[in-house]
């Protein structure tokens, strides 16, 4: 378990949620409030163990709903599902490519609020929805993709800064073993 990395993740989640809650200008410009959690969980899923992902989904969702009129923990399942889906397929995603980072986080940025709204409707709530909600969803998806471009290098730096790294991978593919040179 990468303890310090997990703690760092939670601190980043808390700070970004606070900023998303208090900053006014994103909503004035786009008419949409920005959700940093989908981008954060996608970036975390590329490196963090499942326990850290679970903590991020549970606490992130609880913190976010404490600032909102949503029922507590409503986005927990969609966040966790996205995190697990990315974590299980982390080898198939080319995270060195900026386009791939953007695309995966943008998809998560659209999927998490959609599933959350689905849960709200299923539970009998009446969220405010209209044609403009499609625009809001598009903005949330786009900003999630853009946030991932910030979170990826930030979490890479955090991982290197707080955890011991091996000098070389145990199975270094660049080293060629020549068993019979003659």
């Amino acid at each position: 378990m990468k303890t310090f990395y997990a703690l760092g993740l939670l601190v980043i989640a808390l700070l970004t949620l606070y900023l998303a809650n208090t900053l006014e200008w994103p909503q004035r410009i786009t008419g949409t409030r920005i959700d940093p959690l989908p981008a954060l969980i996608v970036c975390a899923a590329m490196r963090a163990p499942v326990l850290a992902l679970t903590l991020l989904a549970v606490l992130g969702s609880l913190w976010q709903t404490s600032l909102s009129a949503d029922p507590p923990g409503i986005s927990m399942i969609p966040l966790f599902a996205v995190g697990v889906a990315v974590s299980l397929n982390r080898r198939a995603i080319h995270t060195r490519l900026w386009g791939a980072r953007f695309a995966v986080a943008a998809a998560a940025g659209a999927l998490v609020p959609l599933v959350t709204i689905g849960f709200l409707v299923l539970l009998g709530h009446q969220p405010l929805l209209g044609w403009f909600s499609f625009w809001q969803l598009a903005v949330m998806s786009l900003t999630s993709g853009l946030l991932a471009l910030i979170f990826f290098p930030l979490l890479e730096w955090l991982d290197h800064a707080v955890e011991d790294q091996p000098f070389a991978a145990p199975y270094d593919t660049t080293t060629r073993i020549n068993r019979n040179p003659h």
């Binding site: 808390l14 700070l15 949620l17 606070y18 998303a20 809650n21 208090t22 006014e24 909503q27 004035r28 008419g31 949409t32 409030r33 959700d35 163990p49 499942v50 326990l51 992902l53 679970t54 989904a57 549970v58 606490l59 609880l62 913190w63 976010q64 709903t65 404490s66 600032l67 909102s68 009129a69 949503d70 029922p71 507590p72 923990g73 409503i74 927990m76 399942i77 966790f80 697990v84 974590s87 299980l88 609020p113 959350t116 709204i117 849960f119 709200l120 539970l123 709530h125 009446q126 969220p127 405010l128 929805l129 209209g130 044609w131 403009f132 909600s133 809001q136 949330m140």
Partner: protein, 268 residues
């Protein structure tokens, strides 16, 4: 790949989410209060920074600026004093008339100023948070307003903060009165509110309504949640609903909630 940790984690998250979503409103409020306590240090840091900024801007204001501001405030003060004299005479007259026709006397409002400390992070609700809670005498359902008009009502109360449901949120439907025609209706939210949060739907106006675009809309006082006569907005358009017994209208709210920094609560 070892999937066992994922299975355990999924079971834990599903179980926890099910328990949380099945909680009673009171228990859900307690959970939110506990989770929200993590933000308390951040809010206090922000408050400290604001006071430092206020102190610094006070220290750096020039004498010219202060004199100019003072002159403007003195002028405003004179205008307001004249208006108070006028209103005092009207109040006396109103009091006498109320005694003559045996009407109950109007109570004075007990107002308390609150600061907006956050907005709902979800795009599908229209609520904001203020820095007053049950420790300051705030209760659920109390009206929230500004000098321009009604903002909403207190929806959730914590010890040191409260959530205000703004007009246009599903949790804040209110009965209003269209001024010259004195017709009542109910303000509700719909898809248009998502696009422009200062526009809300007015339903249950009579089918042959006399209300016209531009008419002022105030609280009706029905339901006793909001006092009568608080400005809410102006009618934008009135449309009859084909085959229905009532008309629909759109109301432009007088208060733009996205620019609010301070609000007043009417305490009981």
């Amino acid at each position: 790949m070892n999937l066992r940790p994922y299975v355990y984690a999924a079971g834990f998250v599903l179980g926890l989410a099910t328990v949380l979503l099945a909680l009673s409103p009171q228990s859900a409020g307690q959970v939110k209060l506990a989770a929200g306590s993590f933000f308390v240090p951040l809010y206090s840091i922000e408050a400290r920074l604001q006071s430092v900024h206020y102190y610094a801007s006070n220290k750096t204001a020039t004498r010219e600026e202060l004199l100019d501001q003072n002159q403007r405030l003195a002028l405003t003060n004179q205008v307001l004093r004249i208006q108070i004299q006028q209103l005092r005479a009207t109040a006396e007259e109103n009091k006498t008339l109320r005694v003559q026709v045996a009407f109950a006397a109007n109570n004075q409002w007990k107002l308390r100023l609150g600061q907006v400390i956050g907005r709902d992070p979800a795009n599908w609700w229209r609520t904001l948070q203020i820095n007053l809670g049950s420790r300051h005498g705030v209760r659920e359902g109390l009206p929230v307003l500004t000098p321009d008009g009604l903002v909403g009502r207190v929806h959730e109360v914590h010890p040191n903060r409260s959530r205000v449901a703004l007009i246009g949120d599903p949790a804040c439907r209110l009965s209003i009165n269209v001024q010259p025609s004195r017709e009542n209706g109910i303000l509700t939210a719909d898809g248009a509110t998502v696009f422009d949060h200062t526009i809300v739907n007015l339903t249950f106006l009579p089918a042959h309504t006399e209300a016209r675009a531009g008419d002022p809309v105030v609280t009706s006082g029905l339901g006793r949640l909001f006092p009568r006569g608080i400005p809410v907005g102006k009618l934008l358009s009135v449309e009859p609903v084909p085959g229905a017994l009532n008309s629909q209208a759109r109301v432009k709210l007088t208060v733009d909630s996205s620019r609010l920094n301070e609000v007043w609560i009417i305490l009981p």
